[in-house]
Symmetry: D3
Subunit: 132 residues, 6 copies
């Protein structure tokens, strides 16, 4: 995107964290989706969520994904983001079995529909991953 954001230390740190978590293409996908309508949202997301927060050593990357998968499943309002974080969870070292287990556990805290819809998201992500 802009030169301005590339000059920011927070953005560069966030982009690196994001690429480590979600792969090289993720920034481009975010830009393709949002940069036209809201040029600054990707910078805010990358700089704050990934540059400020995820870059902190207080929690291991796989723990961050575990927590995010749990939260998005419980909320039930963020299916596209849940899929991205299930993918990121696999990349961060969570096993499929662990991801499925945390999704099932959400039945206790947010009800069975939340858990089932989370499992449907996982099924899609696992199927894509199997294709390559």
């Amino acid at each position: 995107m802009s030169d301005k954001r590339d000059a920011s230390e927070r953005f560069r740190r966030g982009r690196e964290a994001l690429q480590a978590i979600m792969g090289e293409g993720q920034i481009d996908r975010l830009d393709a989706a949002y940069a036209e309508v809201a040029p600054d949202i990707v910078e805010f997301l990358v700089s704050f969520a990934f540059g400020d927060l995820y870059a902190r050593p207080a929690l291991k990357p796989r723990d961050r994904q575990l927590a995010t998968i749990a939260a998005l499943t419980a909320l039930g309002t963020a299916q596209p983001q849940l899929r991205s974080h299930i993918k990121a969870g696999l990349a961060a070292g969570l096993t499929r079995e662990e991801i499925v287990e945390v999704l099932m556990q959400m039945a206790v805290y947010a009800g069975f529909p939340a858990a089932l819809n989370g499992l449907a998201a996982a099924k899609e992500v696992f199927a894509e991953a199997a294709k390559g």
Copy 2:
């Protein structure tokens, strides 16, 4: 409570898991709170959540607490249960720093008010723990 539930393998397994996670007195606290109004809810909770689910080895106890703390913070509708699970998280080996970090991370996925209210719950739990 009833002899009937004590005869159930699932309940016994769940009670053990619950005591390992939340201490010896937790069943009595749950019975004191709910057994009069809904004699069977404690059995359902203990047998299903702790006997069926938590007893499975697919996820480590500290990971289960991490996921639950994240979910309850994001939902924002279960402060008493969030406090119990922050306490359980400490007992399961999560450090205060890890718990605080996951609460802060929820600002990204459920907004700052959810994170701040989660941190207020943690502050209370940590203060109680300090008193003994």
Copy 3:
């Protein structure tokens, strides 16, 4: 409150429905709570919810309370209103056993914390009712 709202057929019909459901004093309690800050909200609530909707014969009063108790428990963001509707449910002919059962059922659809917090509300209402 105002003469104006008393002149409205919808308000009069709603007030009657509300009194049948929640007792003679409920309008006064609502006025005491909200009329100063928002003089028209009580009229909107009474005329729309009770005058337009509850007055329709398509659903029996006890069914309306059953549905509302389920919904407010699942949402988990309306404890004062949940207590009022548990009280109204008793008055509309729901038994305590039925109310407790529907609250427990919410564990399946909205999670155990939602069900437990609903049961805590019911316990309070039942205790008050026992006092007279």
Copy 4:
């Protein structure tokens, strides 16, 4: 699915309750959707929700569906499950008029968008039912 779950009294009781509520094919549909990704979630759902809870006589089947329809409409995060329970409500003896009325009533407790999206789900289910 597995022989193990068929040996469980709770599962057998739950499967019967589920078939009575949602028809013969529902277990197969659930297995087709979830058994590959999470082999045990269907057993948990059937044994706990239908074997433990729905099988209790404290609430009539049509009342359970009424409550679930209300809750899922208010939550607004479980459209596939809402459609299943509208179908189950018809099978349990709720009239279309009663289902529509409870969906409309949710406008009071969860807002008009929740009610409208619930009505859109009902419209789909009713249209399918008309086709046979």
Copy 5:
């Protein structure tokens, strides 16, 4: 629809408010979507939301849309309604920049996924508007 609702002063006032906000065709679109399944919901929506509330001068039309856009984005359960209100916001004089800014602001109060999904809705509405 019915002659009855046309005879109501509240409905006529609401229809006018709605047409001013969402264009001439909006009542017809609502009737097409809901009148078959729930003949009275459109009257309730138009008479209460637009006839009673929106017609009040206490808040400017563009402020009402701003508030509604914020609320629906934060809730995350009403994408069709969010799109309608983004369209209505443009018609009421909100600029694209203002709408995007309020959607971005929701990241602070309801999390980034809520904001991103709101921005995706805005992108669709803006693209349609560009086509004519």
Copy 6:
């Protein structure tokens, strides 16, 4: 708090925006509440929400408060933050009548309980303001 955050341009800009919106003492109140349990959350909130976002000219301060009041009322999970933003709304030039109107409007989008609980928060804030 720390010298480090004072050295940040974003934090300084955010602190100024926050003080303009919520008064001189707000940073101290936030530090008193959260700095012990989570030393960095106040910096994140101030730098991101107020330094990055609120400082942008794309939306007037009173419009930002209007949107936030609407969103927090609809969510229903952030009463302490709702009170702060009602206070901030008054300071930003919203009249009591406008604030009450937007709270009432939330009945349409998030249900009457959300609106009533929002009005209860406003009543408290207005009463405090009257005392001095």
